[in-house]
Amino acid sequence: MKKLINNPENVVKEELEGISYAHPDLVKVFFDPNYIVRADAPVQGKVGIVSGGGSGHEPMHGGFVGMGMLDAACPGAVFTSPTPDQMLEATKAVNGGAGVLHIVKNYTGDIMNFEMAADLARAEGIDIESVVIDDDVAVQDSLYTAGRRGVGTTVLAEKLCGAAAEERRSLKQVADLCRKVNGWGRSMGMALTSCTVPHVGKPTFDLPEDEMEIGIGIHGEPGRERMKVKSADEITEMLMEPIVKDLPYKSGDEVLIFVNSMGGTPLIELYIIYRKAYEIAQKHGLKVVRHLIGPYITSLEMAGCSITLLKMDDDLKKLWDAPVKTPGMRWGA
């Protein structure tokens, strides 16, 4: 394993120290329990938005704390859900009296830890809404399993709900918006390589030089299927078609395309993927009105990409364009 780290046990702590040195104008970093809140938290009268999850997905979530997006993020150990005490402290720190929204990715650990935190926060008199993101079409949806994973749509939901909260929409409105975004967003990902959890020291899975995994999540876990590596255009089709069919997106729909690097895939390749994704969207009569291209929800240094499609309407377009000022996403401010 070659990584730019010191002791594997200290990766998250040292990363947080780096963030605290870099962005004191945007965020405050707390330790034991670990959480990041926007510098001006709590914003009185504004719904607070808290998210969190395992580390290793940077910039998500810590990099999305700031004006127009998250009020707080709780980083767990690498690929491990954070704990209820982190979430509780973060929730209290950003409660400006208008309630707090928990945006939770659909993993058993995240769900259970956030559930416990919400119970504790409610016991302290804070209004809590929790919305679960489960947008991964690679996973068969079923009432009798853990259901779909939360992946790329999480990034979009955090941006859009952040903008809505900034407009002083109510907790109910922001939570409903989050559910709408989750309902309108679909994702699928693939990996060319595995990744190495620092304290494990070896790749989570082995992938021969000529094979890839299709239908991966964001925790270095293997995907639904392993197969020979294909061309960028073929891979884009294998990701786009199940997405488009799943909602189903209809000819004439406006969409946002989000092409995401899993960490190790460089920008030049993302644009090659975006090119084909755009053409496929057009072929289906979808109007691509917004986009996001880059490493936003990653799995450490994994090479690969994911594609997310989100159906857009005028409200979502307005919220997407609203100013955002965080370490990891910034425009208009």
Binding site: F79, T108, G109, H219
Partner: protein, 211 residues
């Protein structure tokens, strides 16, 4: 024959050692069908628990279990944290103020503890989770208690049933937890959580076998 406060502390301490020894094994199991952190998570939690030992030296069993539960809850994270945290918190509720446990106490305690895990995780036997080890183990313990077996034999049956339960997870297709995302690919691998649960029961039997 009963389990003393000290026996309980010894169980926890021994289990922390067992987890340390099996850290890589549990992580390897999790790498196959999960995200390669179960060993590290459990080890982080039980090392933190070890750090709490001094302040538990003179506490009752309920306080011991509650402290273990709270510590796991705030240090393990992932699915394991709330599940094992709940297990010990529920055990702590049942044993509040107690300084020793009879076999019947053990049954009611594990019953409460394991029901807590079921309530939290909503898994059933056959979903390829911890529950596959815990539930049959509890049944075996109940049966032994009803049959008035000696505590050592009851615990041996308890661990043995847990082992079978753990092994039963191998062919299963996961329905709960992270492994369920793999669909059919999850079959053929033993569940990491069932394994750490079996080790917990096995350590109880080993620690208390001559109680």
């Amino acid at each position: 024959m009963t389990i003393s406060r000290d026996d309980v502390l010894m169980w926890i301490k021994n289990y922390a050692g067992v987890i340390r020894e099996n850290k890589e094994y549990l992580t390897d199991l999790d790498a196959a069908i999960g995200d390669a952190d179960h060993g590290a998570n459990m080890d982080r939690g039980f090392q933190a628990v070890l750090g709490k030992m001094p302040e538990l030296a003179d506490k009752d069993i309920g306080t011991i279990f509650k402290t273990v539960g709270m510590t796991l809850l705030s240090t393990v994270g992932g699915a394991g944290g709330p599940l094992y945290g709940t297990l010990f918190l529920q055990a702590g509720m049942k044993t509040a103020g107690k300084m020793e446990l009879s076999l019947e106490d053990l049954v009611t305690t594990f019953e409460a503890a394991i029901s807590g895990v079921v309530m939290r995780g909503k898994a059933e036997v056959g979903d390829k989770t911890m529950i596959d080890a815990l539930t049959p183990a509890l049944e075996a313990l109940k049966k032994a208690s009803e049959e008035n077996q000696p505590i050592a034999e009851a615990l041996a049956a308890f661990a043995e049933a847990g082992k079978k339960g753990m092994e039963s997870t191998t062919p299963l297709v996961a329905k709960k937890g992270r492994a369920s995302y793999l669909g059919a690919r999850s079959a053929g691998h033993q569940d990491p959580g069932a394994t750490s649960s079996y080790l917990l029961l096995r350590t109880a039997a080993d620690t208390w076998g001559d109680a």
